[in-house]
Symmetry: D2
Subunit: 302 residues, 4 copies
């Protein structure tokens, strides 16, 4: 098979460009392979796990996640606590601001920085109040000792008015599992105000159940971290994923999980030996929107 250099033209469809890139090399080819495997999982009606690490919500990827959930392209979202918290901030009307480079090393105690994005401290105060009220509600309903992360996040989504993937997940009954929810302002508030413990054994059971019931299964890994491992390890007792893709900026040669190849996941039997896999080494803020358009365009034309 030969490398085919794409001819660039105005008004080329994104899905067509990506198909062309799948005949180039390096990470452009990998982008093409990742997009094709993602579409294959969806077309194949596989149970699709989407894992989310890295500050994807502050970086503006929330509407894409929402589209995946609203259109039921994914079956479950496994996310860091930070993305849940920042999504809640947006849902409560707070905004992430673009930082100008001159403000980079700012000395303003009311602004918190995530690389080139800022968010006001008042957003977190609003979240603390929201969580306090939620705890009171739960308490009244007898939830005092334990709750799984996905149930807690549904309770949050139920109470949101604006557009948010937290709300969509509740409405569409898509679970959002957050194995690091305690590692966030929500977890801190729970600790300070209550003895309510996030019961991850129940989250694990949910994922195990999804794994066992799936006829075909796929996983889209964004950025590695705990969501990657937590989703993959739920396949240890089942057969392994049929499809797996990852978008990461980490490197294999440092030995960490986030950069680990999908071949490594095969040695642990988290993927089937013959699973279709591809990894693209790239910032997900670039790749994720492209893949989202790819899936939507292919769904329409197929």
């Amino acid at each position: 098979m030969y490398v085919e250099s794409p001819e660039i033209k105005e008004n080329i469809k994104i899905s067509d460009l990506i198909d062309q890139l799948s005949l180039t090399a390096f990470n452009a080819r990998k982008l093409g392979e990742v997009a094709k495997i993602c579409y294959k999982m969806v077309k194949d009606k596989a149970t699709v796990f989407l894992t989310l690490a890295g500050a994807m919500v502050p970086a503006g990827m929330r509407n894409i996640i929402n589209t995946f959930i609203e259109r039921k392209i994914v079956s479950v979202l496994i996310s860091t606590g930070a993305n849940v918290v920042h999504e809640l901030a947006e849902a409560l009307g707070f905004r992430h601001k673009i930082i100008s480079s001159s403000d980079f090393n700012l000395d303003n105690s009311n602004l918190n920085r995530v690389y080139d994005v800022l968010i006001e401290t008042s957003a977190f105060e609003a979240i603390e109040n929201f969580i306090e009220k939620l705890l009171n509600d739960l308490n009244k309903n007898g939830v005092k000792e334990k709750i799984s992360s996905y149930e807690l996040i549904w309770e949050i989504g139920k109470r949101i008015n604006g557009k948010s993937f937290l709300k969509s997940a509740y409405e569409k009954s898509i679970p959002i599992v957050s194995p690091t929810l305690h590692d966030s302002i929500i977890g801190l508030q729970l600790s300070v105000l209550s003895n309510l413990c996030i019961d991850y054994t129940k989250d694990i059971k949910l994922l195990l159940d999804l794994c066992f019931k799936a006829k075909k299964s796929g996983i889209i890994i964004i950025g590695g971290g705990v969501p990657k491992n937590f989703a993959l390890q739920s396949m240890l007792l089942a057969e392994g994923f049929d499809y797996a893709v990852q978008i990461t900026t980490d490197s294999p040669h440092f030995g960490g999980l986030s950069g680990a190849t999908l071949e490594e996941a095969k040695s642990w039997c988290k993927l089937k030996k013959n699973a279709e896999t591809a990894t693209v080494y790239c910032d997900a803020t670039i790749v994720l929107p492209l893949i989202a358009v790819y899936i939507l365009e292919k769904l329409k034309t197929d």
Copy 2:
């Protein structure tokens, strides 16, 4: 201040070489700065948080962690679940094997790969048995619903015979907090065999308490991830760390937490505005042994 090129000689002490490197540039200088700040925290009798992410135990760093705990150089260890699990495997007599490159894409269902290291599946079976017995013990003692990660890890350490930092931590009363313990074979086993929920609210309270009580505080961050954030966020309600260093292979310019600069942590008030900080961008397997020798040599000569 000028860059001073080190004169290389036989039998130079590691601490002397590192002091010389602190007058060079790029990451050699940063290694020097990190080492100096680490020693400063220790000499200053600060409460030292050590956070551990990345597969440091499979990579052979366990005896260094043990030295830090046995000699009470650190006050608390915040570790991924994976490092706890692999340490338990070694404590139970299993060994990590060096992979030869020809075995890299092996097809052996009894061998699990972590980059260039292998471990037998039987190690995890032994861990499952160990955890099953432990659960029975805890059950008899009335621990059925909730336990913090640090108490669970002390219970593990108590039952270990061989040399291990899990045992040392128990013996020296150094807590090991593992905010991702559920994201490991231990968490999986807990889910399958019991309703015992790891109560991270209690871990958070322990860390908050350490933060409040510390006269001076320092943090040594190895590899980022949840341990980094979990340790840093425990300072949100206190004054911020006085000293902070990190060893990471991630980059700031992808916006993720593991590569985030310590200046960013200052904007969140997790570090004091005038905290002494340094970051070295390097595989911790190279930097950690050097820094450990540095601290021990300086402790001896000062």
Copy 3:
């Protein structure tokens, strides 16, 4: 200014998506900024330097380079010798092949590997023959001692029949300066067969001249390396570039040129103090096609 999360839809134009990404964060925003500055240079009729490092021709980017030259979007190309050699191979009818992962550590002395691309050794034998004939021609025409790289590359382009950016550059009188042409099979062949020396002093004079004459000037840096520095240093005696963008996978924090920020270039006066700049940290095989489409679409609609 707020982060605006893009709404993903089918059939969105690439230039519209990129404009939306310029309101997100991390490298997606940078991609947006790079694209906008590139278009600005072109619209502003600036003298545009395009520098090319990394194996962009083996990776399938040759038609994009050709479009930039044929449509006179760039005024001069500064390329590694390797890209010239691989382009010559394609122009002579040889093809780069996509490697299947099972062939990765192949033991075939007739196949040469560039990451996930292969090329047959016979391609280089054909290039050696081509260069031998060219040397004879030049010799007859009295070129025996010295020739600049751009004149030598025009002589190559003149003798090519198929479609190639080497041919287009000759036809459109766009110089291709290759400051590392001696660091390639062409350089090796010159050494073995002749005393013809590549006279880079003449290349430098060409670039200095372009810098002096430019009313406005811009530079698009792909991948760093010698092409980056060679182009930038030609501004040392002039006023500095007005626009500068770079696409790189290197990091600033290792201190090397390829990852160096454009702020650093300002301290050397290679860019004007108020130059518009942006850097996107990404594999150019992904970013370059997107930016090319962006420029073409904007040229059409403006």
Copy 4:
């Protein structure tokens, strides 16, 4: 073979620590392997090529390079022009300064920045004067048209009074080949003041000759770039190197030369199929001093 976790003690010799690290994993093990292969080449009396890219002189590595040359540990140095220029600046009495982070985005037209190092513009004026005089001298001696880079650098070294590896190389008759010497202030000055062309065909012949005559040969690659390729391609006509190590911060998965694996070099026959190789992914400012001590200590004790 098992991973052996090093026991850290005060006053451990650097060579002993590195030997211990060779039994760990990830890049610590690679550091150990690189060090051992380096020592093996030296002990085996191989012809050793040392290639140097990245701003190693500004970063304070010049005395280490000098030790390698003075003690004839290496047979030839292949360096970027930038390292030659910065070494000349130091030899002429100018110093590189450590930048404080508050000066990072300085606006001072007399200071030029290389990441966290500064150098005054006056250093380059002194170099321009030095080169002008040198050109006059060469002119008087009839060198008007062409000179190889290694001869030009010897001419520079001959005229230096202070301690410098340029001087040592001249005194010890070790050639310094600089395939990008024209890509530096020296090249710029040559272009502006003369028609003297750097004759790289002669440099290539020197390297080819070294390759042909070597009974055993080894290569130590620091940082990739043109020096890496220029050295490796000189083996294309000979048998291939017997030993090869590289220290790089680049990654294989972006397809560029600087991060390319040494397996890739084998596919081009630049290394023997059974060559002993190792790559450590690390900033050379950390690894190079350690390896230098390793070689010296082993030479003493063996």
